[in-house]
């Protein structure tokens, strides 16, 4: 157990996995000499050589397509999409090829690849470099979707992804790379595919993932100071999503708040809210509420960018209303 960063945890997961499994290759823009746009793959080309750490031309569709072909023929590629915002270039290879090959071909040809990418706001990178597009991925049968929100999960979920027989989309958050936390390479926080109660509480259930997990935990602290105990559940693996813990919690607390950074319309939060609303209806005291990004492109001005997505304060205020019917200032 050592303290490290989210960035380092991912890097370490790649190193440990590559040392264990010689079939793993990294394929992406700037993953080699440059060490990754966010420094995640720094030094790996020296450790594993240019045949395993492959700097690719700026050809996202073919990068993902090549990863598909490499996976089909026995390698275990980790393709890197520098920003999830570029998903629009690769959704065909991801959704029509990687996701469907096993099925279309009657189970013959699996595509055990990982697509690593990162998303989210926080760097004033404007509309084309700040999105959260996991909803597109979640809608595609055949893909697995993972979004770590802690340092230890960043390590273990990536290690687990690298043992999966099917394509996994692994979305990091640019605002978490410097997050510090404990890493125990021997002990995962929880198994793959299972949501995790990160904080217990009886008054409401906050369902979230990725960077919003950190905001939600901060909100829960603030709420505790006001006498409200929030249970915070980290969804971690959005597909497959084991709902057992989610439903159990909401049925206990009777209140659910789903938080995402993505534009709220058509988001993962909507999916979770729909499921909880369906399955927990008879236990709910209040409507399942969603908090997400505003339905706008991300503006470059830092104040607007910040103002367009939820933060701990907004989460806490909304939770307070849900529990105590204390209307926040903006309501």
């Amino acid at each position: 157990m050592t303290e490290t960063t989210y960035r380092e945890a991912i890097r370490q997961a790649l190193i440990d996995a590559m040392q264990t499994d010689p079939d793993i290759i990294l394929l992406g823009e700037e993953v080699g000499l440059y060490g990754g746009a966010y420094g995640v793959t720094k030094g790996l080309i020296d450790m594993f050589g240019a045949e395993r750490v492959i700097d690719a031309p700026i050809s996202e569709p073919a990068i993902v397509g090549a990863a598909v072909g490499a996976a089909m023929t026995g390698l275990r590629p980790v393709a890197e999409l520098m920003y999830v915002d570029f998903a629009g270039l690769v959704m065909d290879q991801l959704a029509n090829q990687a996701a469907k090959s096993r099925y279309m071909f009657g189970g013959q040809i699996g595509v055990p690849m990982v697509l690593r990418t990162q998303g989210g706001t926080g760097r004033s990178a404007a509309a084309q470099h700040s999105q959260s597009l996991e909803a597109w991925v979640m809608h595609v049968p055949g893909l697995r979707l993972v979004m770590p929100g802690t340092v230890n999960d960043a390590y273990h979920l990536l290690r687990a992804a690298l043992t999966q027989p099917d394509p996994v989309v692994f979305i990091e958050h640019k605002g978490l790379y410097t997050l510090k936390g404990d890493l125990d390479p021997a002990v995962p926080d929880a198994p793959w595919g299972v949501p995790l109660v990160r904080r217990e509480g009886a008054d409401l259930t906050i369902l979230t993932y990725s960077r919003m997990l950190q905001e939600s935990l901060a909100a829960a602290e603030a709420l505790a100071a006001r006498g409200v105990e929030a249970e915070v559940i980290d969804l971690r693996c959005l597909n497959p999503l084991d709902e057992t813990a989610i439903f159990a919690s909401v049925r206990r607390t009777g209140r659910a708040l789903v938080v995402t950074e993505a534009a709220v319309t058509g988001s993962v939060a909507s999916e979770i809210a729909a499921r909880v609303g369906e399955a927990c209806f008879d236990w709910l005291e209040e409507p399942v509420l969603r908090l997400g990004g505003e339905d706008i492109p991300i503006p470059v001005a830092p104040a607007l960018e910040r103002g367009s997505i939820p933060d701990a304060a907004l989460i806490a205020e909304t939770a307070l209303w849900l529990v105590r019917r204390e209307a926040p200032a903006w309501a």
């Binding site: 690719a56 073919a62 397509g65 072909g69 009657g106 008879d282």
Partner: protein, 342 residues
């Protein structure tokens, strides 16, 4: 390679072409009988000289095809009965009735998959090439696609990668002059696709599609170079004898043009050449034709009338066995129904 230079090889290539022609004719028949799964059936009649390319590949080499891929796969050893069953959407088909005509694959024979996205399978051979390069396995991987895919950007991204990384890969364009109703001169800013490939650093070759031996000659050189890390591009100039798919009567082209195009028949050419070179006489060739007819008649009767796959099979193979499968909707609704404390 040795076999390729033997006297019997050209005869075998003729036989392979005839099997394709016979198979495709029966796919048309399957459709007319209402036994195909849908009408998205793309016949490769007129393009059989692709056998010149497939025959230059070795066992263990892999490939992807476009939607018009029956011929390529047959030439690489497919079982026509299992193909026909797949085209009919039956469980005994290559893909258990999940894929159909446009999505046939067979890992054992190196078929990494037919693709209904124009250009969709092309980058996969780049990835296969990475595997073979890294493992020094000596294999190559070949992408088969149509002239239409020459307009897909991913092709150029893929060519560039193959050249840059010296991959054992070949891009094989079966130019049948049409993408649906669009003749190639209405989709290409400049013809002569080899020039594009060369500009990205590939070795380019061109062959007439009615001359299977010419195709084979060009293919052998490209295969040798590809195995050596020098990727190539082959354009086979053919003609799509019939409509784009089974419903298309090609009103956008003239009967004269069609007659001319169909006159460029690789089977006719091959018969004439084999006879002229004394490699086979008309009786030999007729026997080959008859054998193909018998084989493909049998394929057409195989499992095409079997019962459809059972409904629960639809949830299989979305993900690998042993991992969580998608939850059927009925289960979700049942849970809502039965767990509610009312």
């Amino acid at each position: 390679m040795t076999e390729a230079r033997s006297n019997i090889a050209p005869v075998l290539r003729y036989a392979a072409m005839r099997r394709i022609r016979s198979f495709e004719e029966r796919v048309g028949e399957l459709f007319l009988r209402g036994q195909s799964a849908g009408s998205m059936l793309h016949l490769s009649i007129g393009e059989e000289a692709v056998v010149g390319m497939t025959d230059a590949m070795a066992p263990g080499d892999t490939f992807t095809t476009h939607h018009r891929g029956h011929g390529v796969f047959l030439a690489r050893g497919a079982d026509p009965a299992r193909m026909m069953a797949e085209i009919a959407g039956k469980e005994s088909g290559y893909c258990r009735g999940k894929g159909g005509s446009m999505h046939i694959a067979d890992r054992a024979l190196g078929h990494l998959g037919a693709n209904a996205i124009v250009g969709g399978g092309i980058p996969h051979v780049v990835g296969a090439g990475l595997t073979y390069r890294n493992r020094r396995s000596g294999q190559i991987s070949v992408a088969f696609f149509g002239d239409g895919a020459m307009s897909q950007g991913i092709l150029y991204e893929s060519m560039n990668m193959a050249a840059l990384w010296h991959l054992p890969v070949i891009f094989c364009c079966i130019n049948n002059q049409y993408g649906m109703g669009t003749r190639v001169d209405r989709s290409a800013g400049k013809l002569g696709f080899g020039g594009r490939a060369e500009a990205f650093g590939l070795i380019a070759a061109h062959a007439e599609g009615q001359e299977v031996e010419a195709v084979h000659h060009a293919a052998r050189d490209l295969v040798a170079a590809a195995r050596d890390g020098r990727p190539g591009f082959l354009e086979i100039d053919a003609y799509r004898f019939y409509g784009h798919a089974r419903m298309d009567k090609s009103p956008y082209r003239s009967p004269e043009e069609e007659a001319e195009g169909r006159a460029r028949d690789p089977l006719t050419t091959a018969r004439a050449r084999l006879a002229a070179e004394g490699l086979a006489d008309a009786a030999d060739l007729d026997r080959i034709d008859a054998a193909a007819a018998v084989e493909m008649d049998a394929a057409l009767e195989a499992d095409v009338a079997a019962a459809p796959p059972g409904l629960p099979t639809m949830f299989q193979d979305v993900y690998a066995p042993g991992t969580p499968a998608p939850r059927p909707q009925a289960d979700r609704l049942r849970a809502v129904l039965s767990e509610a404390p009312r």
